[in-house]
Amino acid sequence: MLYGLTVICAFLLAGELLSRLAALPVPGAVLGMLLFTGWMLLRKDIEPRVARVGAGLLRYLPLLFVPAGVGLVELGPRLAHEGVAMIVVLVLSTAITLGVTALTLQWLLRRRARG
């Protein structure tokens, strides 16, 4: 387990360093994920000891958002002020994104099937 955790944390560390050294606007964790993806593409498989730890982390991924999400408790005034507008924006924007993506992909696939 330590081996897998060390490898994954090493990718995270490399991503964080790269983000700062190259002054990229992309978060270090995302760069770490990209580096890890590149490593698997090069190897053409997932190292089993790393896969075990990765699967363990992903299994409880939702739990890991909870401590930050509870921070909502400090946003009372902002929610009271903007809450209704937030819900409207969330619903409309998500519906538009979903509809446009689905219709675009369906149109492209049908066009290709015909052509």
Binding site: G28, A29, I46, P62, L64, V66, A68, L90, T97
Partner: protein
């Protein structure tokens, strides 16, 4: 003889100062919320993260505990978010072979969905008068929670707000996504899964997986690719978008 009340007073004082308390409470609340979610046959509105957050906020209010004190204990859980984000590369890698057969249509649909997701949040947010920090917290709302939080923190948003907005986006997509697509006469499992993954990340993907394996696989693929593309495009869009 020592008064039991004095004992209790000492013990509760120690407990309130013990950092492990909120670690245990967070874990226990999540396990119960997850149990409730499964018992409801994964009804999206009973999303375990959402239920856990609401129960914990109510608990903190009830016992008059500050978020700083709560987070001192719960941050041990929070610290695993970084490594878990890196581990998201694994399902992405396993789904990547789907791209090869449908390279062009999927790439175009991904770029369109990614840009529309960001632009519609920013434009509607401005239309409805959201403040700058709220707008920046909303911009990455279609992306999987850990990456959306990292992006919001990086670009001047509020990660705690983003976490909740992202989860609500996923819940809305999971509840309304398939009915909306049927209304638009989109009935292909691959298209439905992909759109749910782009617009509603992991929660949408979980809903797609309930429909079919195909929908689930394309949802997972779309979610991973959209997280990467949004990370790259969002800073560029924000650089030119007047906020």
């Amino acid at each position: 003889m020592v008064d039991p009340a004095t004992h209790w007073h000492e013990a509760s004082g120690w407990l309130a100062a013990y950092p492990g308390l909120w670690l245990v409470v967070t874990g226990a609340v999540f396990l119960l919320a997850d149990k409730l979610f499964r018992a409801s046959r994964r009804f999206p509105l009973l999303n375990p993260v959402l239920v856990s957050i609401l129960v914990l906020i109510a608990t903190l209010r009830l016992f008059n505990v500050s978020y700083t004190d709560y987070f001192a204990g719960a941050q041990m859980i929070h610290l695993l978010l970084g490594p878990a984000t890196v581990a998201l590369a694994m399902p992405l890698y396993l789904n990547l072979h789907h791209v090869r057969a449908w390279m062009m249509p999927l790439t175009i649909a991904l770029v369109v969905g990614c840009v529309v997701g960001i632009a519609s949040a920013l434009a509607l947010g401005q239309l409805f008068g959201l403040s700058a920090a709220t707008l920046l917290s909303f911009a990455p709302k279609s992306v999987t929670t850990p990456i959306a939080m990292a992006l919001a923190g990086h670009l001047g948003g509020i990660p705690a707000l983003t976490a909740n907005v992202v989860i609500l986006t996923g819940v809305f997509g999971a509840v309304a996504g398939l009915p909306l697509m049927r209304l638009l006469k989109v009935d292909d499992a691959m298209v439905q899964g992909f759109a749910l993954g782009v617009a509603a990340h992991g929660i949408g993907t979980a809903r797609a997986l309930q429909e079919s394996e195909t929908a689930g696989a394309f949802g997972g693929l779309a979610m991973g690719l959209n997280a990467i593309l949004t990370s790259l495009l969002l800073p560029l869009i924000l650089a030119v978008w007047p906020i």
